[in-house]
Amino acid sequence: MKEKPNLSDIHQGDSLPTIVKHPTQQKINLYAEASGDYNPIHIDEAFAAKTPLGGTIAHGMLILAYASEMMTQAFGQSWFEGGKLSIRFKAPVRPQDAITTSGKVDSIEEKDGIPLVNCSLECRNQNGDVVISGGAVVKLQ
C-alpha cells in the first residue's frame, strides 16, 4: 500500500484504479459475521425469496467497501486520515453479480493551504446498471 501520493503525480481527469469484485453468497455471509449485520435479507435465502426482492442482496456497506479499496489503492494512507465519501445506493446487488468500481479525479483545489482531490466514483453491475454513485474527497497532508 502506498504511503501518501505526491500532489505532482495527480492530475485532473486521471482515472482511479478499476476494481472488479464478485460478492458471492459466501462473501455476503462472511461479511454478516464480520460486521454483525445479520439482516435476513442478506443471508437467509428462503426468507429473501418471499420478499419483493426475490432473493438475497449484498450489504450496501459491503459494496461501498469496494469503493474504499479503490481510493486506498489510489491514495494510500491519505485516504484513511482525510478521506470523505458521499454516495447514493442506487440498486441492490445480487450474489451472482460482478461489480466494477471505477472513478476519476474531477478537480484539485486548495483549502486552508491543504490540497484537496475531488473524485467521482461509481459501482456498476455486469449489466452496466449503476448500483452506487457519488464522490470522494481526499485531503493530501
Partner: protein
Amino acid sequence: MKEKEQSSPLSFKQLAVGFEFPPTSYELTDPVIAKYLEAVGEETDLLTSGIVPPLAIAACAMTALSQSFTVPPGSIHASQELEFLKIVPIGTNVSCGGKIAQKLERGSLNLVILEINVTNQAGEKVLTGKATIAAPN
C-alpha cells in the same frame, strides 16, 4: 466482539429527532479484521500494515445503530456520507454512537437521517458520517 446491553429496539415511527443511540464498543482484533478483509476481497496489504480499513469501522457503526431500531419492510439504506479522521490500528477498541439528526417526508417515503460517530479508546473521533434510511409510508 461487541459489548452492549440491548434494550428493545424502537420502531421507525418512534425515532425522534435528537434521540441518541447508546454507544456500542467493538474490539477490532486481527481475526475480526481478517474476516472482514476476506469478506470484501480486499487486495491491499492492510492486514500486514496493521491498519483497520475505514469501511470496517463504518460497518460496525452502522450495525450498532441499526440494532437500536426496526424498519418497515421495503426500507432501504438510501445514501451514506463518511469522513475518516484518524488511522485506526488493529487492536483498537472503538465506541460507535450516533443520533437521529432529521426526519423528513418525501412523497411516499419517510426519511430518517442518522449521524454516526466513532471514537477510539482515547476518546478521539476517528470517523463521522450520516446515513439516510428511506422507509415506505
